[in-house]
């Protein structure tokens, strides 16, 4: 009997320390979910995709120019377009739809580290099929990173691969293939939104497992956890492998770009949470408002406030990092780990507290690693 009393007391304590919404408070169903979806689609996702597709178009042009005339100026220009495109990608990568999943959009655009041996074999032998799942690490922005910065130790030697080395035309063709593919995949996604999917998305405004809100929130948290927290910081810092893996950073070959990409992605995810319109100071309806409506409190503080605070903490820690994460990992990995820890705290707030408040279930399981 004593055991059960103890159990009852500890369970009660557990419940009391959890997130609570105002007991006589609002029903999630009373919130205008459709309005959130409209804000997401019309003021964030489609504008960000449109911007990204313009950048991928410019990237394709720069790639073609470079292939026609692989000189230093064209290389710089191509690198600039690559950077602009890579930054813009951070604003669209978190959004999954049936179309992005069908064409494996994120994985075709941004898988790193690059399989450089296979890339070289593709170029030398010419028999590659970038549509294959097995070739996701031989294309996209990371492989362009390798081809524009990683082939050799200085610009002159890099350029020689495209000018005078054997297979120089194959190298040029591969660059063109990559930028062409990035642009065409992006067009597919944007066209899908613009030719019917936007309405479908916005009208699917219920709150079941297959509703737009449920799926988009799950995808957002998945992106935050796997791509932002683990992919950009945790994996290179060795959190999951025991030893740091500097070669697993985003932007490994260009070296100085990792931090910029990370900060851009952090901003993009925070903006989405707050409903901030793409490339604007205006804020519309989003998860922050939904949580405020539900009066979601955790340990006496507004959950929305806690989440935004954590974004700020993460940003503050990241500011201390070297712009080259590969270097940071080797110079002082504990700063990377501190950044990871701050990001991790928001995983709890988003994946546990926020989902509980919104009555949304996690729809993905951490793989068994089998």
């Amino acid at each position: 009997m004593k055991r059960y009393i103890l159990l009852f007391l500890s369970v009660s304590l557990l419940i009391l320390s959890c997130t609570e919404t105002n007991p006589s408070g609002p029903d999630p169903d009373d919130f205008d979910r459709k309005a959130i979806l409209e804000n997401w689609a019309d003021n964030i996702i489609i504008p960000a995709l449109t911007d990204f597709s313009e950048k991928t178009e410019s990237l394709k042009t720069a790639g073609n120019n470079f292939a026609e005339n692989p000189n230093q100026q064209a290389l710089e220009s191509l690198r600039d377009q690559w950077k602009a495109g890579y930054l813009a990608l951070q604003h669209v990568s978190m959004f999954e739809t049936s179309k992005t999943m069908e064409i494996r959009f994120r994985n075709n655009l941004n898988i790193y580290p690059v399989d450089t041996a296979e890339v070289k074999e593709n170029i030398n032998q010419g028999n590659y099929n970038l549509k294959l799942p097995s070739e996701i690490d031989q294309q996209g922005f990371p492989t362009l990173d390798y081809l524009l910065y990683g082939l050799a130790g200085n610009n002159a030697e890099i350029l020689s691969f495209y000018n005078s080395g054997e297979n120089s035309s194959d190298y040029r063709n591969y660059v063109v293939d990559l930028v062409t593919r990035i642009d065409s995949l992006t067009d597919i996604v944007l066209n899908d939104w613009n030719s019917g999917f936007r309405d479908e998305f916005v009208n699917n405004s219920g709150n079941g497992a297959n509703s737009s809100i449920d799926m988009m929130v799950n995808d957002f948290i998945f992106y935050y956890e796997k791509n932002l927290r683990a992919g950009k910081i945790g994996i290179p810092a060795g959190v999951f492998s025991g030893t740091p893996l500097p070669q697993n950073v985003e932007g490994f070959y260009s070296k100085e770009f990792s931090k910029e990409l990370f900060l851009e992605s952090l901003t993009a995810t925070q903006n989405f949470f707050n409903g901030k319109h793409f490339n604007s100071e205006t804020t519309g309806l989003s998860l922050s408002d939904y949580l405020d409506f539900l009066n979601t409190i955790k340990n006496g503080t507004d959950l929305t406030q806690l989440i935004n605070q954590q974004f700020e903490e993460s940003r503050a820690k990241a500011q201390n990092l070297n712009s080259s994460f590969a270097d940071q990992v080797e110079i002082n990995n504990s700063l990377m780990l501190q950044t990871y820890d701050e990001l991790q705290k928001n995983v709890i707030l988003l994946k546990v507290d926020m989902l509980q408040a919104l009555n949304i279930n996690v729809d993905y399981v951490d793989a068994d690693g089998d």
């Binding site: 049936s98 999943m101 069908e102 494996r104 994985n107 898988i111 099929n129 549509k131 294959l132 799942p133 097995s134 996701i136 297959n210 799926m215 729809d363 399981v365 793989a367 068994d368 089998d370």
Partner: protein
């Protein structure tokens, strides 16, 4: 938690009957480590089991080495000899090539289940060889083709790439997970902890009189029990205290005991299994064969449960993926290929107190044919996966929820 309830019942039973024995020895304590000696020297030995675990690891890895593996190589690794029966050197680890052991001879080879059933044993060995050759004949040629119903090839599983047959099965998963049943589980539960092996020949008399095997420090009976131990812990970095690294020491039974131990619903199973091995071995040293056999029954219940739990876990994982609005088929096929192997392994489990597995070969073949019907995993429905899960869970003492979360 039903497993611990059964354990409680078994323990109570043991307590009752141990009071009735004529054994005047003090109660035998469960050793904390698996260390046993005679005249100051260790008597623990299971090198053959370690060898076969390593061979199995190389075999299953080789199945996805598109550049170097051939049909002949896979069969040689399975048999550790050439087609003509001559000595082969298929492994990369030298000591495996030097070994006289092989996997094939111990697949579906337990005394209790197969000594008078060589026809079925042969069928099962052939099944493994069919999967090995199919990987090279059917899947290898389609390495760079995208899999579709009826077409073998590669398929995305998140950012991983899986290689599947025309029916969506990963043959390397079929082999790896089926070996857990046909080799490790069958040898432990139906061979090495069985009285038919432990008490064979003059083993009892020799063990009673401390008569060791020729040139060895152990009695035959001690050694047989150790060989059971070796199929679970044989590749551990700390065989005296294998729970320190449980789950990390191989890709077979050890790994999945670790997985089940990591599920809150079953936590404690790793200790229960280790204790049964250790106490059974101590009982042998003291000549208490009733106590020994009680531990064998515990091992049968608990190790069989690992197979049942993981079968349901992977069936349910695959089912969850297939029920999504946009199923990631590669992810589902990976889960369900593992499920196939654990389902296949059910025929090698052992119900305590009986001479039977939890599911007969016929029943297992029935489940398998449901998975293989039509275009196999391309066609299988969540309902079918649920039905099989229900059948399995209800035979054991756990719920589907417990196994799948």
């Amino acid at each position: 938690m039903n497993l611990s309830k059964s354990l409680l019942i078994i323990a109570a039973f043991i307590f009752t009957i141990s009071c009735d024995t004529n054994n005047t020895n003090d109660e035998i304590a469960t050793p904390e480590t698996y260390e046993f000696t005679r005249n100051g020297e260790s008597t623990v030995s299971f090198s053959g089991q370690t060898t076969r675990i390593k061979m199995s690891g190389e075999l299953t890895s080789a199945m996805t080495d598109f550049d170097n593996t051939t049909k002949e190589l896979l069969l040689e690794m399975f048999r550790n000899q050439t087609e003509n029966g001559a000595d082969a050197n298929p492994f990369s680890e030298a000591e495996l090539n030097a070994a006289t052991k092989n996997i094939k001879s111990k697949v579906a080879a337990s005394t209790d289940f197969f000594s008078t059933n060589t026809a079925v044993s042969s069928e099962i060995k052939t099944q493994f060889e069919t999967w090995l050759t199919a990987q090279v004949d059917e899947v290898f040629p389609n390495e760079n083709i995208q899999a579709q119903p009826g077409v073998a090839g590669q398929i995305a599983d998140g950012s991983s790439t899986r290689y599947v047959s025309a029916k969506g099965f990963e043959y390397n998963q079929l082999v790896a997970k089926s070996l857990i049943g046909a080799l490790m589980t069958d040898q432990i539960l139906n061979n090495y902890v069985s009285t038919s092996v432990l008490d064979a020949g003059t083993n009892i008399e020799d063990n009673n009189n401390g008569i060791t095997a020729e040139g060895k420090t152990y009695t035959n009976m001690e050694h047989k029990w150790d060989e059971a131990f070796g199929y679970l812990y044989g590749n551990s970095s700390n065989t005296a205290n294998p729970n320190l690294t449980i789950g990390q020491d191989d890709s077979f039974l050890n790994k999945y005991l670790g997985r089940v131990e990591g599920d809150d619903d079953f936590a404690g199973i790793a200790q229960d299994i280790f204790d049964a091995f250790a106490l059974g071995r101590a009982a042998i040293v003291e000549g208490d064969y009733e106590l020994r056999d009680e531990q064998a029954e515990i091992l049968r219940a608990q190790i069989s449960a690992i197979i049942g739990v993981r079968a349901v876990y992977y069936l349910q994982s695959g089912k969850t993926v297939l029920e999504q609005a946009n199923p990631d088929f590669g992810t589902a096929f990976h889960d369900l290929s593992e499920a196939y192997g654990f389902v296949y392994s059910l025929q090698f489990t052992r119900q305590p107190g009986t001479g039977q597995p939890y599911f007969t070969k016929a029943e297992v073949d029935g489940f398998i044919s449901l998975l293989e019907a039509g275009n196999g995993l391309w066609d299988v429905t969540p309902q079918t996966l649920q039905d099989i899960s229900v059948d399995i869970a209800s035979k054991f003492n756990f719920t589907i929820e417990e196994a799948s979360n």
